[in-house]
Subunit: 336 residues, 2 copies
DNA sequence: CTGAAAGCGCTAACAA
DNA sequence: TTGTTAGCGCTTTCAG
């Protein structure tokens, strides 16, 4: 029934516990013959070491935490795949925590991470997060941290991002080159560095192309789906409504399509639409959607790799690392 | 820097470690005044108990594992949300393991779960899984298990599923009622009970409606995207090709749409399409897709709730539990 | 090369 | 009501 422990294994082998422990770790102190006997017996009895005993003693858990807003978004799904791939490869375990965009929850989780439960943390912050004390605290506590995608700009932690500013610029200039004269930008939050960067890129493009910028054309959506729908319909109901829309987060695609449908504004002839999006189905939407695709898998992977460097290499100053992986524009019918 | 431990907390309070421990657990043995002092000081010093020390001693980890094929599928994304919601509520931690449809990996992971790392397991098996010994072993080992969605049919473990047979029947009869005369069924695996159940439902419908059944119209796809695309194009290139398709898993939607596009077969006039699918974007595809939507969030939630009953209630015979939550048909243009 | 023993931080039985 | 103490299973000095 219950798993065998190292003591029983030692008894079975007529060896001391210490010797068995060292043999299993392939220590240089142990003779080849003994190692062979030990590993063989361990296998035969299906000995599985208790990770918590080991963690307690070594003060290492071989576990990392991934703290993200939610998983029902193709970016994070893909990122988790990337993280899992490298964690698995390194023999680490992955704890997942969803904040559901609640800053308070994020704080609680990070505080709990000081317990020694985890060796490192990957985080993509809440859209409410403006104060980064909880992250700094944890880092002070000796837990290596890598922020990815939604990072804190002015905090000294390792970061993995995509080229948000350039992508915002690219999105806007793409619309402009397709003939748009008035371009709206849909954001999710005033705090989120990534949507802000994208917004800055968008604004810069307007300036460079000498297009008028209207403050009201930057719309900040909320968590309330019905409300967002309304905001967008209001935007598009104006007599002189925008003829181009940049959607900065995937979840706003549906309300935009719905709004255009409800208002009888055909895409792309009346309104051209481009979205930051990792949905494989973007290609088969009606109309197919021009997207800026983030390298989600690679970002998860890179963030994890960076974290493990910080975990495994001494003298590696993790918090000064920073990496940018470019996004890609996929041109489709919605901006034809 | 390093977190404070219970001993230091005790010293600070001029109490014994045991007393402090009990006070923190709100034990009846401890006076109200002492409890107050202890919790206050614990808060002041930001005392965070070491979970591994506690786990080692109590032989409970307040951690569950979720083992699934992958997360880049909207069903599992939603299910994780459901699981996270109840785990968080119960104060449990969630370890996530992706098998990537590899049976071997699944075995390895489940074997490792015997270590005491987890108190319970939620699993959705690989499409290669035909042998369930690893699951039974783990259960024998005293780890409560709930299988969800992709379950093992003839194994004595708790199960949370949707009404796959009925849904398959429903999908087929929907197509038949829309006028289809030859209906194909796209599956992912011969082993997967859920796709088989759906297939049985489909076949039963054909029988009931006296529609001829052609063995070649049941197509088993693989992990190879290009190959799947080819299989589907082959199916639809026949002179007398099927005029209705049931897609049993989300990831086959794209190749079907692509194949129809490549072969110039318009949906729904030439081929009607219905898919098992949880994509919010199904509504805005071109054409919008008729779907059978599984209650993904609820299934994750229910599985987790069941697991916690097994974890917390004694005399609760978890492995005899079984729950079915119905799916829903959403009629759209692809079967008009 | 192997063994003995201390102790990681916490809980729980037993004593006081 | 509080304190003392023996471990949980493992790793790691230090001795042999």
């Amino acid at each position: 029934m219950d798993s065998i422990n190292i003591r029983q294994l030692a008894v079975e082998l007529n060896l001391s516990v210490g010797t068995v422990s060292k043999a299993l770790k392939d220590s240089y102190e142990i003779s080849a013959e003994t190692k062979r006997r030990v590993t063989e017996m361990a296998l035969r009895l299906n000995y599985i070491p208790n990770p918590y005993a080991s963690s307690l003693r070594r003060r290492k858990s071989k576990t990392i935490a991934v703290v993200i807003p939610e998983v029902a978004d193709s970016f994070f799904s893909l990122a988790i795949n990337g993280i899992d791939a490298v964690a698995r490869n390194k023999g680490y375990h992955v704890l997942i925590y969803l904040t559901h965009e609640s800053f308070e929850r994020e704080q609680t989780i990070l505080n709990e991470c000081k317990s020694g439960r985890i060796d490192g943390l990957l985080i993509s912050v809440t859209k409410e997060t403006t104060d980064y004390q909880h992250i700094c605290d944890l880092q002070q506590n000796g837990v290596p941290i890598v922020a990815f995608d939604r990072v804190a700009e002015d905090v000294n932690i390792a970061k993995v991002t995509t080229n948000d500013f350039e992508s915002g610029y690219l999105a806007a200039s793409h619309l402009i080159e397709k003939g748009c004269k008035r371009i709206a930008y849909l954001s999710l939050s005033k705090n989120l560095s990534i949507t802000n960067q994208r917004m800055e890129g968008y604004r810069q493009a307007l300036v460079n192309y000498s297009i008028a910028m209207n403050e009201n054309d930057t719309v900040f959506c909320t968590m309330d789906d019905a409300g967002n729908q309304q905001l967008i319909e209001d935007l598009l109901s104006q007599s002189n409504h925008p003829d181009g829309i940049i959607i900065s987060v995937e979840k706003l695609i549906l309300p935009v399509y719905d709004a255009c449908h409800n208002l009888n504004l055909s895409i792309p002839s009346k309104v051209k639409v481009i979205s930051f999006c990792n949905l494989p189905s973007a290609r088969i939407l009606n109309p197919s959607l021009t997207t800026i695709t983030q390298p989600a898998f690679e970002m998860g992977e890179t963030a994890a790799e960076l974290l493990f460097k910080g975990l495994e290499k001494r003298n590696f100053i993790l918090k000064e690392e920073s990496m940018t992986i470019p996004s890609i524009l996929n041109e489709r019918e919605s901006t034809l």
